[in-house]
């Protein structure tokens, strides 16, 4: 019995020693900690932080986490109340609202009211809560933008030429869009693809949601106040039917993710794509020789009565921990970071449109980016959350099935209304 106990205790002791020896005591504590998920800008941000240290003596440590990690980390740290001083926000108002309600992020309005005007209003609006916006959050601004973007159509000039289309005249109306699609298909070119397998498909129909329903009715339907059927949503989904019948979707579009579509576009395998301004940098990396492409605003559909508004707006933005020990210093740093010289450097090196509207000089960034910039004031500022998050899933899946010809727009709208009751 003693020998047995002795042996087991021995093993436990050895294990403990091994484990204790590998415990590290941690490094010297850093003043401000910021978590972010901007992989390709990690070095850039750290360079800027080093610059700031030389200027002010304040240490800022950027820590990079990626995608799922960030979401998981924030959740866990929020529950354990060990959030960092600031982090790059994930998602938009819908996700932010919960963090705000849980008291994890700071209402920044009193701190930034003197300099928030450097950002376009409709951008700041995307991270600002008001009294009647449907979220139950104390009104105020909860995020500081770092960069902006928007999404429009892009087309391959060479493939247009090949199909007998004028490479300098992209489609301006919906009818032209469909006609161009037919001509491309006739020339043996795959006309269009985008990421319908994920969120990107939703963004493509958003301009037409606004155009057909108008902002008021669209948001009312999303909040469940009126049905999508009554709002006339079937007409929006019918556009997909028109594209499908014209043979515009490249095979596999229904479950394609955006990077795959981008790859096809950069390799000249599809003629048109719906994508964001950040794609310029993506295409450059995928195929540096790919230069002959341009941007066009979603073609106007004469049958729709309202103005089309495009998805876009805030890209990366910072939120501040309500319980941070260094609130003032953190906000000071972010103010410096979004000043014109830093934003210019940021935009030049990362191909993202800077949030600070005083920095935008498109001539240094290339013709495509300049064209994207023009669209910034047609970006929508408010999209209400769906009453039931499942509705959005149903819409995404529904669009996939419409493209495959296996569901009708009426069916999908019916299901959406069922879910959003």
């Amino acid at each position: 019995m003693r020998r047995l106990l002795g042996k087991i205790l021995g093993i436990v002791l050895v294990l403990t020693i091994v484990l204790v020896l590998s415990v590290s005591y941690g490094k010297e504590t850093v003043k401000i900690t910021i978590w972010h998920y901007l992989n390709d800008r990690d070095k850039l941000l750290k360079t800027l932080a080093a610059q700031y240290y030389l200027k002010t003596g304040v240490r800022v440590e950027f820590q990079l986490y990626s995608g799922d990690q960030m979401g998981a980390k924030i959740r866990a740290a929020a529950q354990a109340r060990t959030l960092p001083d600031a982090w790059t926000g994930v998602g938009l108002k819908g996700d932010l609202s919960r963090l705000a309600q849980a008291g994890n992020i700071l209402n920044l309005t009193p701190y930034i009211k003197d300099w928030v005007s450097r950002f376009p209003e409709n951008i700041v609006a995307q991270v600002t809560f008001t009294k009647d916006d449907g979220f139950n959050v104390e009104p105020g601004t909860y995020g500081i933008p770092l960069d902006v973007n928007n999404m429009q159509f892009l087309y391959n000039k060479d493939l247009f030429k090949k199909a007998g289309l004028d490479p300098n005249k992209p489609p301006k109306t919906w009818n032209e869009f469909i006609e161009y699609g037919k001509k491309l298909k006739a020339a043996g070119i795959l006309p269009f693809a985008t990421g319908f397998g994920t969120w990107a498909g939703l963004t493509m129909i958003q301009p037409y949601e606004f155009a057909y329903l108008g902002e008021e009715k669209l948001n009312a339907a999303r909040m469940g106040k009126i049905t999508f059927k009554d709002a006339g949503y079937v007409k929006v989904l019918n556009l997909l039917v028109e594209m499908r019948d014209a043979g515009m979707f490249a095979p596999g579009t229904a479950t394609m993710d955006l990077p795959t579509a981008e790859q096809m576009f950069a390799n000249g395998q599809i003629a048109m794509i719906f994508d964001g301004s950040w794609a310029i940098g993506v295409f450059k990396m995928m195929n540096p020789n790919f230069k002959n492409y341009f941007v066009f605003f979603p073609p106007k559909d004469e049958r729709a009565s309202y103005q089309a508004l495009i998805p876009g707006g805030i890209g990366a933005y910072f939120v501040v921990n309500k319980d941070s020990k260094y609130i003032k210093e953190t906000i000071e740093f972010i103010k410096w970071l979004t000043d014109v010289p830093q934003q210019a450097k940021y935009a030049k090196e990362s191909f993202n449109l800077p949030a600070n509207k005083n920095t935008i000089d498109p001539r240094t960034l290339g013709p495509q980016i300049a064209e994207f910039v023009k669209g910034m004031d047609r970006v929508y500022s408010y999209l209400a959350p769906y009453k039931n998050p499942r509705t959005e899933e149903i819409l995404i899946k529904g669009m996939q099935l419409i493209i495959l010809g296996q569901k009708t727009p009426e069916d999908v709208v019916k299901e959406m209304d069922e879910a959003n009751k």
């Binding site: 047995l4 309600q101 849980a102 994920t198 899933e393």
Partner: protein
Amino acid sequence: MRKFIDKIENFIFVIPALAFFITFSIYPLFKTLQMSFYQWDGITKNMIFVGFKNYIDAFKDPVWLKSIKNGFILSFLALIFMNSIAFLLAILVNSGIKGAKFYRVIFYIPPILSGIVVGYIWKWIYDPNFGILNGLLDILNLSHFKRAWLSDVNTALISVSIASMWQGVGGSFILFLAGLQSIPEDLFEASRVDGATFWQQFFYITIPLMSRTLMIVSILTILGAMQLLTIVIPLTNGGPGFETEVPALRIYKEAFSSYKFGYATALSVLLGIMLFIISLVQIKLRKVD
């Protein structure tokens, strides 16, 4: 008194495992159970007690039910095809065939590969325009069989299944290999002396003595199929529509995308109970044999 000390001695063997379990498993398990009776989004403080509502909703949820059905289909396919191939490979490799050492190493490469690589490769294989599968069909003059494998509602689930089975063979393979090692060599020798053929040896020695291993592999296979997550996301993300939704993916989405954490935990409990019953049945069945 002797007996009592004896039992305590025995108990000591389990104490380390118990200590870990109590510290790190009980609390999350308890929380999961507790949360299943609440409506909670996972972040804010409002948790509303809803009793059994989450459980009742689960039975009425068509997407959840479809994901369970898909889970069973995946399990069935894996049990039959994946494990047969793994078993066959294990027997062949174990029989001292030329190159066995070489094969043992190569067959475990798929499980070692990261999800990124496996996801990318299979997406490439199934790509409707530039993929290897459709390309092969072209070469073999079978072009009318070409499909958009991952986007087509008829082929999406099978395509995902094949990709996951391909990666899973290695795991079953080494379990079978380990199982084969515990069959004493002299049993085969003795039967050979008695004039048994390869098939007789297979059915009267190998299979019965492998029953335990077969049971372990079955339970782990069903577990793997029901908890499949990492490969589905890059391939189809549950689509087209909800065709390739699987239980673990549903739970993940409800918890983190739909902010229905309470509901997700109820789904986990239901899944756990289902798997527990299935495993129990398998364990008891084997003992009856």
